[in-house]
């Protein structure tokens, strides 16, 4: 995996961020499928008995060859399902994603929750190993390893159905109402969520379909949010990508390789984690509409001012490289701050060291509705151990003042507890539902 070195916020130390040679190297598209992981320098593992599903730790990536793909060797990859933590959190975001919100049926109880998790555990394990789930009659669609990850989260309704409300983390509740919100119930909180990500849109579509119909009637689909993102360069499969406003998005992040684990994982910092959630995290999904028509009216100077970073390479306006630490004191010739006080960078920066989140958003560009020419935005996804402590202060500041609010509108909001991973022989949610 490509490590994302930590940035030390709150201090004025030199920030360390992933090197982002922002140029578009050749073969940029080619990396979307398979080659991406190989390019990231992952050790290749020989195809062993492919029926053996990887059980080596969490979220490790190994290249395997599918049993049924014939003699043609591939350098595509699978991600291990089994482990203390679910894949799809610190895994470098794959280019394609679908988020599916589902509700439990009326009258669901703990047994319903257990059965749902039993079915999904087996289905996800097979899908991530590039095999079709048990009932799959089009398993060939699963057999091209595409670095598929499926991540399962549960909402307040899951705890209520399982009669476990007393054990729910205190933060598992709707976010406060923010003045900028124009929430559409179509993207409401649901009882459970699936995050399905892969290098291939075919793999995402197939896995999503199988998991949704495979859950019938234990969970019913409420919404689907699809997204996409391209790696910045052929060799950088990491967190930054270019969103539909053309900005490099995802530069400043907590470390995903250990040092910031208390910010990312439940139980990594808190001595008394909520029941059954040690090894889990939280996922905030905000659907944020981006107004492409009004954005078109803004020139590049205004656009860079709004974010506080350069559009070409994502460097702070006070620096030259994306990794440069922004200098908030710097003034221009007229005495104005170089990085605007209301810029997104300035407002989103942590005021306290713990106000940091792992952002893994996806762009969406759905068919326009009515007379609109675009239906574009961000499926903004943030992982953090405690969203109330880490996410809410940031979102509160952004709601109070952020030049980006001129063009962006939150239209959906939900919060989930991402279950810990399933160890060998375990089902997802086992510790919680036992």
């Amino acid at each position: 995996m490509v490590p994302h070195p930590p940035r030390r916020p709150g201090s004025d130390e030199q920030a360390v961020t992933p090197p982002a040679g922002a140029g578009h190297g050749p073969g940029r598209r080619a990396v979307l499928r398979g080659g991406l992981v190989a390019a990231a320098g992952v050790a290749a593992t020989a195809a062993v008995s492919s029926c053996q599903v990887g059980s080596n730790g969490s979220s490790t990536v190994a290249t395997t060859r599918p049993a049924a793909a014939g003699s043609e060797p591939t350098d595509a990859a699978t991600v291990a399902f089994r482990g203390a933590r679910q894949a799809g959190v610190v895994t470098d975001p794959q280019p394609f994603a679908a988020f599916v919100g589902l509700d439990l049926p009326k009258g669901a109880d703990r047994d319903t929750c257990r059965r749902l998790m039993g079915v999904w555990t087996d289905d996800i394990e097979r899908l991530m190993a590039a095999r079709g789930p048990l009932t799959d009659l089009e398993a060939e669609l699963a057999q091209v390893p595409s670095r598929l990850t499926v991540t399962v989260g549960v909402g307040p309704g899951f705890y209520a159905a399982a009669d476990l409300r007393a054990h729910a983390p205190s933060w598992l509740a709707p976010l406060p109402r923010f003045s900028i919100d124009r929430l559409d119930q179509a993207w409401r909180q649901t009882d459970v969520v699936l995050q399905v990500r892969a290098d291939s849109p075919v793999a995402v579509a197939h896995a999503t379909r199988r998991l949704v119909v495979g859950a019938d009637p234990l969970a019913n689909q409420v919404w689907v949010q699809r997204g996409f993102r391209e790696p910045l360069t052929a060799t950088d499969a990491g967190l930054p990508f270019r969103n539909q406003f053309g900005q490099i998005d995802g530069t400043v992040q907590p470390a995903t390789n250990g040092p910031d684990d208390p910010l990312l994982w439940i139980g990594a910092g808190d001595p008394k984690p909520p029941k059954g959630l040690a090894g889990g995290t939280s996922m905030v999904i905000r659907r944020i509409a981006m107004n492409m028509d009004t954005w078109d009216r803004a020139d590049r100077v205004a656009r860079e001012n709004a974010i506080g970073r350069r559009l070409d390479n994502g460097a702070p306006l006070t620096g030259t490289k994306p990794t440069d630490h922004p200098n908030l004191q710097a003034k221009d010739a007229l005495g104005f701050p170089v990085i605007d006080d209301a810029s997104h960078l300035r407002r989103a920066m942590p005021a306290q060291p713990h106000e940091r989140i792992l952002r893994a958003p996806y762009a969406y560009d759905d068919p326009p509705v009515g007379s609109a020419r675009t239906n574009t935005g961000l499926v903004f996804v943030a992982f953090q151990a405690d969203p109330v402590r880490q996410f809410v202060p940031i979102q509160t500041r952004l709601a109070e003042a952020d030049l980006m609010n001129i063009w962006t509108t939150p239209i959906g909001s939900s919060v989930y507890a991402v279950l810990p991973g399933a160890g060998a022989g375990e089902t997802l949610g086992q510790a919680l539902l036992s």
Binding site: S49, S50, C51, A67, A68, R114, R115, L116, G118, V119, D122, R131, G132, L134, T135, L137, A139, E140, Q143, V213, G214, A215, D216, P217, L218
Partner: protein, 209 residues
């Protein structure tokens, strides 16, 4: 005949060659090519390994065989349903399964799908049972060989488990715990022509012959 029924039938028809292949192979008793995981994922995986047709008769003084159902599942439902998966014979002697019992079904039968002279696909009893060659396997699939569960006691719900005890010709019983899964297909298993089960008619007629 409604359009939707016809449509179902076209689907069945499309997969029937595979079903026939599986059935033929089992009856002739050829050795199966061992697929990498014992999970048969394509028709090629279940193709006969070679020409050598071994004896169809199980060895007389057979060492204790171990037979498993890999990637097994039972379609959720009530009344009648079926179990699918890959039966793998880990022993060095052929094994023929001839009957079974279940904790959730009053009757367990070994079925296959066969094209009739009128072109329709019908479920029929698998004559001679399921032969699994030594070290080989047999795929049970919707539209092909399957273990029929009848007189199912109460609805089998997605995510539950069903116990299957399958009995070989020598009386050896293999106990399998099989997960129940929601499944939209295998509709053909739900229309018995005659209550008594010597052959249950598929609801779908053949589109062409």
């Amino acid at each position: 005949m409604s359009r939707s029924t016809l449509f179902t039938h076209v689907t069945l028809s499309a997969i029937s060659p595979r079903a026939r292949l599986t059935a033929t192979v089992a009856v002739v008793g050829c050795a199966f090519a061992l697929s990498g995981c014992g999970t048969s994922t394509s028709a090629a995986d279940t193709a006969p390994a070679g020409s050598g047709a071994s004896s169809t008769a199980p060895a007389a003084a057979a060492p204790k065989a171990e037979v498993t159902l890999d990637s097994g599942w039972v379609k959720a439902g009530s009344g009648m349903t079926a179990a699918f998966g890959t039966i793998t014979n880990h022993s060095s002697v052929p094994v023929t399964l001839v009957k079974g019992t279940s904790d959730k079904a009053g009757m367990v039968a070994l079925h296959t799908m066969e094209k009739q002279t009128d072109g329709t696909m019908k479920m029929t009893e698998k004559k001679g049972g399921f032969l699994i060659p030594a070290g080989g396997n047999l795929s049970l699939n919707p539209g092909g060989d399957h273990i029929m569960l009848m007189e199912v006691s109460g609805p089998l719900a997605n995510g539950q488990k069903v116990a299957l005890n399958m009995v070989a010709t020598d009386g050896t019983t293999f106990a399998w715990s099989v997960p129940v899964r929601s499944f939209a297909g295998a509709q053909e298993t739900y229309a018995p022509a005659v209550p008594g089960m010597t052959g249950m008619t598929s609801t779908a007629p053949a589109a062409t012959k």
